[in-house]
């Protein structure tokens, strides 16, 4: 079922991802509601979740397919949590790209531009959102050339291999640094997985439950002593819960 979304998009042609989500709502044709996802055991105590959103405002349909596939490799579904996409990580990334960070807020954007060395940090003339877009396009171009398919159409093993090659700097792209793109993609996915659910990722606080992070209330004046070497088991609370 993993390519459901992609196939569905192909059949409806040019309708944008946002339009599709609005049109079909929580219908099972959407990938996040596929049998594979709904059969998955949920962490104990978590309430029945609302349908996973596949409504994207920045990412185009092929771009969203890439991001969903990548975050599912970073955060595969298992007994610990649902997949990255089902945890809302792709939606998180889309919102960040569409927002202030994606458009280069808090980034010095003046030229001239030079490549620099890695210890000098980000030197691209692209905004983070533009950089992401270029990175996705370059990754797909690489996959088409090497494996005859876009990234999201590859098998899980092939996807893992491509991501590892990017991570280790074993492949390079013409436009952006494959390794730099990988690092930004991974960092963004981890932010989405572990940030407060108010940003659209970490659905049902799945990541916080996985590690035992209790969230935002955090009054430990007594616990600092009484919980020495003792597990502190509570239902985590998020900004979303308390707002």
């Amino acid at each position: 079922m993993k390519n459901n979304r992609r196939d569905f998009l192909k059949t409806v042609g040019t309708v944008g991802a946002t339009g599709i989500a609005a049109a079909v709502g929580g219908e099972t044709v959407i990938d996040g509601q596929s049998p594979a996802a709904s059969d998955r055991p949920r962490p104990p105590g978590s309430p029945a979740a609302a349908p996973v959103s596949h409504a994207y405002t920045f990412l185009t349909a092929p771009e969203a397919a890439f991001i969903e596939a990548a975050v599912d490799r970073f955060i595969p579904a298992d007994e610990l949590t649902p997949s990255g996409t089902d945890c809302g990580v792709a939606v998180f990334i889309d919102r960040q790209l569409a927002g202030a960070w994606g458009s280069g807020d808090r980034t010095y954007m003046q030229g001239p531009w030079q490549k620099g060395v890695p210890t000098q940090g980000y030197q691209s003339p692209l905004t983070p959102a533009e950089f992401f877009r270029a990175g996705i396009a370059a990754s797909n171009a690489y996959c088409r050339k090497a494996l005859n398919k876009d990234f999201d159409r590859l098998t899980s093993d092939q996807q893992n291999n491509v991501l590892q090659d990017m991570e280790q700097g074993r492949i390079s792209f013409d436009t952006v640094s494959a390794q730099e793109f990988f690092n930004l993609l991974l960092a963004s996915a981890m932010q989405g997985f572990f940030a407060d659910p108010v940003y659209g990722g970490n659905r049902d606080k799945a990541a916080w439950k996985m590690i035992g992070f209790p969230g935002v209330i955090a009054i430990y004046s007594e616990h600092i002593k009484t919980y020495r070497n003792k597990k502190y088991d509570v239902e985590p609370k998020s900004i979303l819960d308390l707002s």
């Binding site: 620099g116 210890t119 572990f194 407060d196 940003y199 916080w208 996985m210 955090a218 600092i224 020495r228």
Partner: protein, 592 residues
């Protein structure tokens, strides 16, 4: 044309800890004071209220309380032969912006620096001989002794509500405190915080090995506290959201809840937020400042604020930038080693993981989220200790070994054993397993100056006002690598004695990298000293060249300690305020 405003006695550039202390002290003395802060106003409620303040993405990742590099940043290179490129995004260090400055988002570690720090050149020459100091390491003594500054350290500790335990009261060693600290006249205003489980384990292991563990002094209040000015602090709740956040409990000693409200209660004080000072205006002799030029960044309007005294109280880096932009003092040239403004920039190797050791215990639970920014148990045996033989290390300086437990915020804190992949099923399993079962022993090293580690103005890149960016030339050198290697091994020995299931580290020090966060402990560039030939400012942090300009902050340090800078930064602000009130005010001119 800029609007020329009415002259005041004192204009303060930047309203964090140093600006806040000067604002309070000078306005209470009846001087007419205007403070220009380039960021906005803010207060604990509503700006730091829960639940919103517990937003790791907004505050810890996107740096909501920090300066915006889109407006002004610096360029960076490792050596003078390389191209210097802009730091386009914040990373290695995080200067604050807005009322309270970095004093709002700091962790709260509050040291008095060591006797060795106060007299670095004298100490090393006497103990190890002149030839022990490398030729390219321009270390020099502070222009005042520890004993002279002691009452001012005390004043800052009282103001900020520091929790700790004295190790040396008037020369008498005290059990449980820092065995190696300089004598203090009285104990900390508050007792230490409750240690974390990780800290109790380290305490026992270090003591067992014959070291001298003690609680790290911190401005996280161990109980509710009213400071000598009547400012009230709440008790710390160990929430694990200090650094990069404001404290909703008012338990972190911060200028916005202490000195700044006291200044604002004075009729002679005025605060102007969103006021970005672009330069200090000098008269035709270039020996006297006549005020500052600034832009209201909320309207774009330009102003000139005349003043009899100008105090630069911005972040250390920005103090140096303003001096260079204004032509105060001779810019330093690393090639000829002539000039003073920009020299002796130092940082802090070790912060951020290098040299430190992470321990993983199959059978222990650490609850890393029960945390405060600054509490900790550490040893100073390889730093403040006069008897520590630096010849064996082959380097000057030293490092502290400390177990803190500053947070368990999961975007940033996810320890896994070495060899674990960064993503995928194996990574998930390891993260779930070890998040609660890991602790860290941190190694933080001093940083001695090097002739090439310095600031000047960048020839290419500009800020939003069209002014040259500051240019930083910096790298770690052999001395730094030796300190980290030597003390890192000592930390590893202690770690091994604790019998962890596995451990990672200590990592070796490589080239300086401006990308990953390390510490906001940037020092030097406008250093203090005994003559115009060796320093930009004198012992009262007064410009040798333009005596009615005072440059207050860590920019004055001739080298960086293994300690955090805020203790002496606060002490020096009180010291300078006293000098202005008791001397300069009556007899303006170069003080001796």
């Amino acid at each position: 044309m800029p609007t020329r405003l009415k002259e005041v006695d004192v204009v303060i550039v930047g309203l964090g800890w140093t600006g806040g202390i000067l604002a309070k002290e000078l306005s209470e003395a009846g001087m007419r004071v205007v403070a220009l802060e380039r960021g906005g106003l803010r207060s604990t409620n509503p700006d730091f209220a829960i639940p919103q303040i517990r937003d790791e993405l907004k505050y810890a990742v996107r740096n909501a309380l920090m300066q915006n590099p889109a407006r002004d940043t610096l360029t960076f290179r490792h050596s003078p032969s390389e191209p210097s490129l802009p730091m386009r995004q914040l990373g290695s260090f995080l200067p604050g912006e807005g009322l309270g400055g970095a004093g709002v988002h700091w962790n709260g570690v509050t040291w008095r620096w060591t006797g060795i720090d106060h007299a670095a050149r004298t100490y090393y020459e006497q103990r190890h001989g002149k030839s022990f100091i490398p030729a390219d390491m321009p270390i020099q003594d502070w222009p005042m002794t520890y004993a002279e500054l002691e009452p001012y350290y005390d004043r800052f500790e009282r103001t900020a509500g520091v929790s700790g335990k004295a190790g040396n009261l008037k020369g008498a060693k005290q059990a449980g405190g820092n065995f190696f600290e300089q004598p203090r006249e009285r104990d900390y205003p508050l007792p230490p915080l409750e240690p974390s489980y990780s800290q109790t384990l380290f305490n026992d292991a270090a003591a067992q090995m014959g070291y001298h563990p003690f609680p790290r002094p911190c401005a996280n209040a161990s109980r509710a506290y009213t400071n000598p000015d009547g400012s009230r602090l709440g008790a710390c709740v160990y929430c694990g959201h200090c650094e990069r956040f404001g404290c909703e409990a008012n338990a972190k000693g911060s200028p916005h809840i202490t000195v700044i409200p006291k200044a604002m209660a004075q009729p002679t004080f005025e605060l102007r937020p969103h006021s970005w000072v672009t330069r200090v205006m000098l008269d035709s002799t270039k020996k006297k400042a006549i005020g500052v030029a600034y832009t209201d960044v909320s309207t774009g309007e330009q102003f000139e604020q005349p003043a009899a005294i100008v105090t630069l109280c911005a972040y250390a880096i920005n103090n140096v930038h303003l001096m260079l932009l204004s032509g105060i003092g001779t810019p330093y040239d690393a090639t000829t080693q002539k000039g003073v403004v920009g020299r002796n920039y130092c940082y802090q190797p070790g912060s951020g993981g290098v040299g430190s050791v992470t321990l993983f215990f199959e059978d222990k639970i650490f609850n890393p989220f029960m945390a405060t920014g600054a509490f900790g148990i550490g040893i100073d045996d390889f730093h403040a200790n006069d008897a520590f033989d630096r010849a064996a290390m082959g380097a000057l300086g030293g490092a502290t070994i400390i177990v803190g437990q500053s947070n368990g915020r999961p975007i940033g804190y996810r320890p896994v054993p070495a060899g674990t992949p960064r993503w995928g099923a194996e990574w998930k399993k390891a993260t779930a397993k070890w998040y609660q079962r890991a602790m860290n022993i941190g190694v933080t090293a001093s940083n001695m100056p090097n002739r090439y580690n310095a600031f000047d103005l960048d020839p290419t890149y500009k800020n939003v006002f069209g002014q040259p960016l500051l240019r930083l030339t910096y790298n770690f050198v052999e001395n730094d690598k030796k300190v980290i290697a030597y003390v890192g091994q000592k930390a590893a020995e202690i770690a091994r004695s604790m019998k962890p299931t596995s451990m990672t580290g200590p990592g070796m020090l490589g080239d300086y990298n401006i990308v990953p966060y390390q510490s906001t402990h940037n020092t030097g560039g406008a250093i203090m000293g005994t003559s115009p030939g060796n320093s930009a400012v004198n012992k009262y942090l007064q410009s040798w060249d333009v005596p009615n300009v005072f440059v207050v902050g860590a920019s004055a340090f001739p080298h960086n300690s293994a300690y955090n800078p805020t203790g002496p930064v606060g002490a020096l602000a009180y010291w300078t305020a006293d000098a202005i009130k008791s001397k300069f005010r009556n007899r303006p001119g170069l003080m001796t």
